[in-house]
Amino acid sequence: MRVVDNLNLALRSVLERDPEAYLLGEDIVDPYGGAFKVTKGLSSTFPDRVLSTPLSEGGIVGVGGGLALAGSRAIVEIMFADFVALAFDQIVNFASKSVSMYGKRVPMPLVVRCPSGGGRGYGPTHSQSPQKHFIGVPGLSLYEISPFHDNQALLPAILRRAVPALLFEDKLLYGRQMYTEGVVDDLLQYDFPAPDVARVFVETPDECDCVLIAPGGVSQRAIGAVRRLLLEHEISCQLLIPARLYPLPIEALLPVLRGAGSVFVAEESVAGGTWGHEVAQLVHRALWGELRHPVTLIHSQDSIIPTAGHLEEQVLLQETTICRTVVETLRD
């Protein structure tokens, strides 16, 4: 099953099971079914609760906040993650703060879905990975879809926590297949050493030379790098993909990280103040004396994301960048 179909099923089952759940977004109704077709078929089944909206990102996230405040569950699709910037106020100053700023806990089951990332030649305003701009906002959680995590479990779990969340969805991932039955390919397997943390490993999960932590959107590049490291450099690298990026369930990752003593973080975000910095700080605090080298961050260049394919490739995180950085770091 393709990732986009899994996500579609997950949205469908939320709407089916929860008569108080709403899904809002631009151009999400049938027959169009959303810019990336994630919501295809849903408005035909739930015409009153799956609504195409005007071009009003700030407004519709505010509406989602209002639905949540009044006791509904709200899911809002932002057509391109870049435009979540237009909803920054509603997310940061209203939804997230409301959970606690009135001196008592206010449930706020709001999920803002953000198709993110480049690699499709959409240009500087349609290709960003804005995760980093939302890290460290009290009350706000960040998730990212992956080909390992079943969104039919993840999405209801996020809503049950009843705090506002952003769900990042890598655009290139939509068309990829979900992995099943613990098998990645002829070389690699996967399991879940902790809830919502997927681990990709070679043969046995207990031994490895290093650990690579990556958000779901980087899965393919990270898996490619893990294969190359093994086949071309005889380095056994384990890959960890947490569904929740922030707050990161660091305690759950520590046993795996401790064993390796060598940790890398790969993300598509452009350089500077990235999610990786947050991960590195957490790992350093927990394992400083046990690491062979400081956590190494691998990300896109410090740059806007250009349109032309060959320029985009120079800027964005590539499989080869991950591979090269790991090899060079371990060699030093």
């Binding site: 909206t53 009003s56 407004g59 305003t125």
Partner: protein
């Protein structure tokens, strides 16, 4: 009278237009069609929004807006650019990421800056910026104006109203050109806009003019005095073109029912001009075709664009 007959009658009444305007209209049409073909053939990367059906808007405006005026364009901006600069080569190179690209292949189809022309891919973003430029022009270069193109869907963005308010308050020479094609991506205007653009604009005390014409001469005659006034009195003006998107929103993503598409096509300037001036039209079309074909052949063979000013 059936609508087909009405259209044909209207076509016969077309005011004459210059060879230059006719060629420009057809060049833009061929350029956009060629882009869709290149996409279909897998020769283009990324995305594009063609202005098929709406080419006449910037062509009509081009004699009313000078190079010293600013133009803010949007995602559907190829026609805006070509009507102003007639630069098929620079634009195609930009879209294909080749040497000679207007913005070195960095911006692509919807992020272009050339002298006093700028486009951006975030809806609604340009209007407050246009107000800032108009504020400066009012003081530094009286008589010049800022022309900003937006679609009907973009009226969903709050920034549009913040901008209109400031433009009216400060009496700024801002011309907002609304290309009201009745649809935003896949959403019909009726499903995304309450009330009308005219009433919204009126609420700010800004002049609003709506035109249904696709006739270059007629549009110019209608708009010339209004735009003059906006310049001379330094006042905002909103001109709403009732227009029709003949092609897809982007590429291969037209989910409109066939009768809706047919209705859009019935309003196409292309048919009316072809009927009104068949020989000149055929001649200009031939010329437009060969100009576009030449440029495509040339640009395809160019080396990749180089980006040095990172």
């Amino acid at each position: 009278m059936t609508s087909a007959v009405a259209t044909a009658d209207r076509a016969k009444e077309r005011t004459p237009l210059t060879d230059e305007d006719l060629l420009l209209l057809l060049m833009i049409r061929r350029f956009e069609e060629e882009l869709l073909r290149l996409f279909g053939a897998g020769l283009l990367n990324g995305t594009t929004h063609t202005c098929l059906g709406q080419e006449y808007v910037p062509v009509a405006l081009r004699t009313l807006i000078g190079l010293e005026d600013f133009v803010f364009s949007n995602h559907r901006g190829h026609g805006h650019y070509l009507a102003r600069y007639q630069d098929l080569r620079g634009l195609l190179a930009e879209i294909m990421g080749r040497e000679g690209a207007v913005c070195n292949g960095v911006g692509g189809s919807q992020h272009i800056l050339r002298d006093r022309y700028l486009s951006t891919g975030v809806q609604g973003q340009s209007l407050p910026v246009a107000v800032g430029v108009a504020l400066r022009l009012k003081h530094a270069e009286p008589g010049r104006l800022v022309c900003a193109h937006i679609g009907d869907g973009t009226w969903g963005e709050g920034s549009v109203y913040e901008a209109l308010n400031m433009a009216a308050l400060w009496r700024l020479p801002l011309l907002v050109v609304v290309e009201h094609n009745g649809i935003a991506q896949s959403t019909p205007t009726t499903a995304q806009m309450a009330g009308t653009i005219a009433d919204r604009v009126k609420a700010f005390g800004i002049d609003h003019h709506r035109t249904e014409s696709t006739d270059i001469g007629e549009i110019r005659a209608e708009l010339d005095p209004m735009i003059q006034r906006s310049r001379e009195a330094s006042l905002p003006l909103v001109v709403e073109f009732a227009t029709h998107r003949v092609g897809p929103h982007s590429k291969g993503d037209d989910t409109r029912p066939p009768d809706v598409i047919e209705r859009a096509e019935a309003h196409d300037w292309h048919r009316s001009y072809a009927t009104a001036f068949p020989e000149r039209f055929a001649h200009a079309d031939e010329r437009a075709r060969s100009l576009v074909e030449e440029v495509v052949a040339e640009v395809q063979d160019l080396p990749p664009a180089v980006w040095t000013e990172q």
